[in-house]
């Protein structure tokens, strides 16, 4: 116990000394955080410093093994680090599909060679990744994907089209699901491969979102050469890894519902805007709606905590990620609708100085995608009904 207390004290002191003041402010949009990668230009010197200092300790990926550049922290230490960062409202130094998604998959399923090649640049924020799963004909039915990888001995030649690939135009590498065997049950002929986005035959076309920003892309794969050593896990075993990875993604997206560090809670904002009347929010309808959301949000937070604690002690239901993803994203959508109602006509301003450059409506619109990306709410409910409840 005292070890952990020492760790907390040291961490607190280090963060105080090393986290620049401007990195202790809330992240306002998708473009605001540091995403890293070869093409990244830092938004400020503070942003660069903060990434550099955290990456040096491996604290961009605190619980990854030290030998690949991670922080090597235990679960308890990782939790303390997060708490101490939250305490000073520190931003995460890096937003990264590498850290959230492909990194854990490589660590769990990848060869030693892949770990040495890919994990350290992920930790340092040098390589930015994108996720090539969805295709025009394969969204919810992901296993129906058609992008074909033909075995050429020491490499594959890949042809096909991916869609809704977030930040494909800004990413350096893609982790991509491809069909390596068309003659077996659809889940059994899929492989997870990695390739550089500058490989000949890879091209992207950005697609604008309804929020007007943060484009995702169509990605075209035209005779793309992928080395065999860039397959994660076994050939034709990609579906198992994809499912593992989706679990990670779901837990992460489910967390979008939570109030970001340094941001005022919904109820605090409501008090600011509407004021109190005898200690009660001065609008009884808003008060009822906000209270209902608040109760659910708190209950959700406790549930997320309980799921983690149960998993640590080896109990609990599998597939909890489906519930967290479903509930968390629906909560976030409700929160965004309440914010729109709370700020009234100010929340409708799309551009210009009349009101915050349209940050609110853009974030509201973007939240609509939370219950679609990473598997729709309907698919999560199907997973719960089938796998947990044994229905159908």
């Amino acid at each position: 116990m005292s070890d952990l207390e020492d760790f907390r004290r040291e961490t607190r002191a280090w963060l105080e000394a090393n986290c620049p003041a401007s990195m202790r402010t809330p992240i306002l949009s998708d473009d605001d955080p540091c995403w890293g990668g070869r093409k990244w230009t830092f938004k400020s010197e503070d942003q660069r410093l903060w990434l550099e200092r955290m990456a040096e300790r491996g604290w961009t990926a605190p619980d990854w093994p030290k030998e690949y550049g991670g922080g090597g922290l235990t679960k308890e230490e990782t939790k303390i680090l997060r708490e101490e960062m939250a305490r000073i409202k520190a931003r995460p130094p890096l937003h990264s599909f590498g850290i959230w998604m492909i990194g854990p998959a490589i660590l769990k399923f990848g060869s030693e060679e892949l770990k040495r090649q890919h994990i350290p640049p992920i930790v340092r924020g040098e390589i930015r990744w994108c996720q090539g799963y969805s295709e025009p004909g394969a969204g919810s039915d992901l296993a129906g994907l058609q992008t074909r990888a033909v075995d050429m001995g020491d490499h594959f030649i890949v042809n096909g089209q991916k869609i809704w690939t977030s930040y494909a135009d800004k990413a350096d590498w893609m982790f991509c699901l491809v069909r390596t065997n068309p003659d077996v049950k659809k889940q059994l002929g899929i492989s997870l491969v990695l390739f550089d986005m500058t490989t000949p035959g890879v091209s992207t076309r950005p697609i604008k979102l309804i929020s007007g920003s943060s484009p995702f892309c169509e990605t075209f794969l035209d005779d793309v050469r992928v080395e065999k050593n860039q397959v994660v896990g076994e050939i034709d075993q990609g579906w198992t890894i994809a499912k593992y990875l989706l679990t990670h993604e779901r837990e992460m997206i489910g967390g979008f519902g939570r109030t970001a560090a340094g941001e005022k809670t919904l109820s605090q904002q409501a008090v600011d805007v509407l004021g109190l009347d005898n200690g009660r929010l001065a609008d009884s309808f808003m008060r009822a709606d906000i209270a209902r959301w608040d109760l659910d949000a708190k209950a959700f937070e406790l549930t997320a905590e309980r799921v983690v604690d149960e998993a640590k002690s080896g109990q609990g239901v599998g597939n909890a990620s489906a519930m967290l993803k479903y509930y968390g994203t629906e909560l976030n959508k409700r929160r965004q609708e309440l914010l729109m109602a709370l700020y009234g006509s100010d929340s409708l301003v799309w551009e210009g100085e009349a009101w915050r450059d349209g940050a609110l409506p853009r974030q509201w619109l973007r939240s609509k995608g939370n219950s679609i990306e990473g598997g729709t709410s309907e698919i999560q409910l199907n997973v719960i009904a089938k796998n947990i409840l044994g229905l159908g």
Partner: protein, 380 residues
């Protein structure tokens, strides 16, 4: 109560509005206005064609160049406007402006203004709200008596069509303090008068709105619309009219978003079958269909009550606005969700419906405002 069906004349108006707007003011027109950052925010050619169709005179008596078809008739056009997301001055001028002057104008004002409204030569805007959440009795804008007239100071936001209007109808305080209902007066102010500053604001729906600032604006006694100090009942009546017509437009939005979604459920395949074959989606679509049926009824009842001058018109207007807002929100959210990834793209039209629905929901009071008002009018 009048029967809840359209008469022949109203049905004809609905049919012709449907064909006309689909052809002359489709969604692609709104996109073009948005992408080209059109200064006026509407097509002059469309407006002229609307005038020719008689849309601007639907609520006006024949003696001033109108047809007197009434609110049910006008609501049929509004519904089609919702379906096509057609941008035009119709609501601010031919509903709000026309009603305001027809209801409360003196002979002089009617003679001066109504024929020009019917002819599409004069655009109006109703400048009411000063707070972000609709609070029509919160009026800080001052109209101080000076000689025979008034001097205005204050700020209104976000005024629909504020930056294209020739005349602003402004609620201002001539007595009492903010949030008192007595002491409010409606005044007609020239948009180009000295001291009027108008800043266009670009909103989420790419439609027209503006912040209007008044500093030392002088008007004479002839600018008063209705009674001095007793403008609030008139304002409430105008807002009821506005809300019933907004509800009609929201109904159009909900229906169109819904129908496009049902169509998609019949086209998109996943897991080897049409997604419309999944019961999880079927039940939600069926539920939404039921809700939309309810909205059709309340919108027609509210419009019809306005035409009849029924005692419960205010209550029905709040019912229609509340229910239409609730269901349009559900319909547009479901539309995006059931389209999956493509529903999140700017290239695809469904997102434009969600962007238009919210401003309409909030304009002149959202679901909560009108549920509260409905309760108050019902005596609880």
């Amino acid at each position: 109560m009048a029967r809840l069906v359209l008469n022949e004349e109203q049905q004809m108006l609905k049919d012709s509005a449907q064909g006309f707007l689909r052809e002359r003011a489709p969604i692609s027109q709104l996109r073009r206005l948005r992408d080209e950052r059109d200064e006026k925010g509407y097509s002059q050619a469309l407006w002229s064609a609307m005038v020719e169709m008689g849309f601007t005179g639907i609520l006006l008596p024949e003696e001033f160049g109108g047809t007197g078809f009434g609110h049910v008739g006008m609501g049929q056009i509004g519904e089609q406007v919702g379906r096509n997301l057609s941008a035009s001055p119709l609501f601010a001028t031919a509903v709000l402006g026309a009603s305001a002057i027809d209801l409360a104008g003196n002979e002089q004002q009617k003679q001066d203004l109504l024929p020009r409204i019917a002819a599409g030569e004069l655009l109006t805007a109703l400048a009411v709200d000063e707070r972000a959440r609709h609070t029509p009795d919160w009026v800080e804008t001052q109209a101080e008596r000076r000689n025979e007239g008034f001097v205005l100071n204050g700020e209104k936001r976000y005024v629909v069509d504020g930056h294209i209007a020739d005349k602003l109808i402004v609620s201002a305080r001539t007595a009492g303090s903010a949030s008192e209902r007595d002491g409010i007066t409606l005044l007609i102010v020239d948009a180009d008068a000295d001291g009027v500053e108008i800043e266009r604001t670009i909103m989420v729906d790419s439609r027209n709105a503006a912040v209007v600032r008044l500093s030392g604006v002088r008007v004479d006694a002839g600018a008063v619309l209705g009674e001095v100090d007793n403008g609030y009942p008139l304002l409430e009546r105008l807002l009821d009219i506005g809300n019933a017509h907004i509800a009609a437009e929201l109904l159009g939005i909900a229906q169109e978003a819904f129908e496009r979604t049902v169509q998609y459920l019949k086209e998109r395949k996943q897991f080897g079958v049409l997604i419309g074959s999944f019961q999880g989606l079927q039940h939600r679509a069926a539920h939404l269909w039921s809700e939309i049926e309810l909205v059709k009824s309340v919108v027609l009842a509210a419009l019809s009550a306005l035409d009849q001058g029924s005692a419960d018109a205010a209550q029905l207007a709040s019912l229609a606005k509340a229910k239409a807002s609730e269901v349009a929100q559900l319909a547009t959210n479901e539309a995006v969700q059931m389209h999956g990834g493509i529903g999140m793209t700017d290239e695809f039209d469904i997102g434009l419906f969600i962007k238009r629905a919210r401003p309409l929901q909030q304009l002149f009071g959202d679901y909560r405002y009108h549920a509260d008002r409905y309760a108050a009018l019902s005596g609880y």
